[in-house]
């Protein structure tokens, strides 16, 4: 027995000593698809290289993951760090004092000078203090087009939304689905928001989502957007897929003409070894108004008591925005980096278009930064209904939309 105790004692000492240098930090996120997992592995590799240890806690599905994260934080068993989308998702956790203020790290690293666009850091800031480390930018405003589908239909590949709508009958005649659209609320309302951001002047988008002005939401310009959504509904009438990547796959295989989806669809084309420009086209801003929103992901750090854990958190926070980590991570993820001063020449055509728009400052805040998850869910429900029920007129839908915007905070 004595030897056992001795061994245990020695083991404890060794453990205590090593843990003073190498700290295990549990990091929670919902990056589970192929490209996402490869991207997050870059963070883990970089963090392990600092002598600490990244304990990966991935949960499938953003909604499920957020529920687990919140219940662990509020239940007094916080993890070391977790991923959320930029915006208002973490608002209440910050107000309740559950998340760590990392302003000191941000200032030491000079985030204010390098983060581009600066609105990303604003989304992390509450009452002048910084609570999160933005890691990438994902934008919604992309139209992906299959060259094969248009060749088969004998029409030229469109260069903007109106040409696409005009080409729909030809596609249909050739037995193609004009527009691939997953039957999920977030995809349908996402496509609507893309149209609102690109088909009508930008003030409309900001008036509706930033100022929550019911008059603009009920106005003529938004009525046009609802009309365009009705066009999209007709074009997607035969689309029965659920998941966004299944819809993307219809475009990759040439069964569908196009899809409105964020730049994460890029990863699917890359996995299928398609070449931008010859196999598929990407039109930022639907080819109408070249504008991108600046949603994306950020890491937050719960308030912890253990000094060693806090030190590890600080190291991770600083590391996430290092130029080398940013390049490695974003190339795998297919997203744009949060700093404009790094070399992204390895990125492909579509990503370069995105980088150029970013550099020109042609950007919008994302809906996630402007409206609460509650309002988002209401809008998602409205569009699920609108896209499933062709008898629902654009006018009816707009009326409901106005009342949602009226109640939004």
């Amino acid at each position: 027995m004595k030897t056992v105790y001795k061994l245990l004692a020695v083991a404890t000492v060794i453990f205590a000593v090593t843990s003073a240098f190498a700290e295990d930090l549990e990091v929670m996120h919902w990056w589970t698809s192929g490209g996402e997992a490869a991207a997050v592995a870059e963070f883990a590799k970089a963090f392990d290289a600092t002598g600490n240890h990244w304990v990966d806690a991935a949960i499938v599905g953003g909604e499920a993951a957020r529920a687990v994260m919140v219940s662990r934080i509020t239940g007094g068993d916080p993890m070391g760090a977790f991923q959320f989308n930029h915006g208002r998702q973490a608002e209440e956790l910050i107000e309740a004092g559950l998340l760590r203020d990392i302003t000191d790290i941000a200032e030491a690293q000079g985030w204010k000078d390098v983060v581009n666009p600066p609105t990303l850091l604003d989304a992390c800031t509450v009452d002048g203090r910084i609570y999160c480390a933005p890691v990438n930018i994902h934008s919604w405003q992309w139209l992906w087009l299959s060259h094969k589908a248009f060749e088969d239909a004998g029409v030229a590949v469109p260069t903007n939304w109106d040409e696409f709508v005009a080409a729909a009958p030809a596609l249909e005649a050739a037995g193609k689905l004009p527009l691939a659209m997953g039957q999920e609320g977030w995809q349908q309302s996402g496509a609507f928001n893309v149209m609102m951001a690109t088909l009508v002047p930008q003030e409309v988008y900001l008036g509706v989502y930033q100022d929550k002005n019911p008059e603009i939401a009920g106005g003529e310009e938004v009525a046009k957007v609802f009309q365009a959504a009705a066009d999209a509904r007709d074009m997607a009438a035969k689309s029965t897929v659920q998941n966004w990547n299944d819809a993307t796959n219809l475009v990759i295989t040439g069964q569908a003409g196009g899809q409105i989806m964020g730049d994460w669809a890029q990863g699917e084309f890359a996995v299928a070894e398609q070449v931008a420009g010859t196999d598929y086209s990407c039109l930022p801003g639907l080819g109408v108004t070249e504008m991108l929103d600046t949603g994306g992901d950020a890491f937050y750090f719960p308030v912890l008591k253990d000094e060693a854990q806090i030190a590890a958190q600080s190291e991770l926070a600083a590391l996430l925005l290092e130029p080398a980590t940013q390049v490695a991570f974003n190339l795998k993820k297919g997203s744009l980096p949060v700093r404009g001063d790094i070399d992204m020449s390895a990125a492909n055509d579509c990503m370069q278009k995105g980088l150029a728009l970013l550099a020109d400052g042609k950007i919008l805040p994302s809906t996630g930064q402007l409206i609460t998850p509650d309002t988002t869910t209401q809008i998602n429900t409205l569009f699920t209904e609108f896209f499933a029920d062709p008898s629902m007129t654009p006018e009816d839908a707009q009326k409901q939309f106005v009342s949602i915007i009226e109640d939004a905070e």
Binding site: E92, L93, P373, T381, T384, A388
Partner: protein, 294 residues
Amino acid sequence: MKRPNQLFRNFSAKIAAIPMIVTALFVFVGGTAWTVVYSFTKSGLLPRLKWVGLDQYERLWTTKRWIVSIQNLAIYGISMLVLVFVIGFILATLIDQKVRFENVIRTVILYPFALSFVVTGLVWQWILNPEFGIQSIIRDLGWTNFAFDPLYNPKIAIFGVLIAGLWQGSGLVMVLMLAGLRGIDQEIWKAARVDGIPAWKTYLFIVIPMMRPVFITTLVLVVSGIVKLYDLIVAQTGGGPGIATEVPAKYVYDMMFGASNLGQGFAASTMMLVTVALIVIPWAMLEFGGKKHG
């Protein structure tokens, strides 16, 4: 003779029941009260005591999705209740005719109940899918105009879910009914036969009334399954097409965890509780209230 103190009668049994009583009081009653209280607040991601009166309820009852959810639950619930009892009882009487391979048949029919709702939902999603399921098989057989795609038609989608629910639940009702039938004394059958009463009349007017306790047990099981209908919907339709197969439990979950709006979720679950209470309390009083001295 001195009567023993009431408190100490069955003392050990009372001690043993304490943990359960505490659980019931704190977890069930306490949790319920907490939920009801917070349904009057503006709780978002975290519970907050910021009173808003009946606002959450007002929003709830003006939300189309909630109304559709309630209607769906009513349609599903009533159809399920009637059909599962009819199918279960008929299956039980058929097996009760001393058929051969009774064990095999019973196992086959009960088997779906061993599957989770998630598996059931996925299986029936495929069976009812027009491209791989029943519709395509029948079309391949020559009837090219045959159409059967309930899950893609918003007007009847809830019945597509009902089919899956019936497939899963009928076996259990059958087994319970069979146990009830087997509990009926053979002498009663003989007496009925001597009196020349046809078998169907014997079932309807003699056996069924005698099986009352079995019916009550089954009813409780089936109804509780209906009210908490959630996983079948999530697996089979995800509430779609559109919002055609939304149910109250899913609304509660989506509000609490998807929309970060606890207050709205609490209001919806309170309404579910009220509905159940409105049905259960009068029934329980009728069923158990009068029997105290009986």
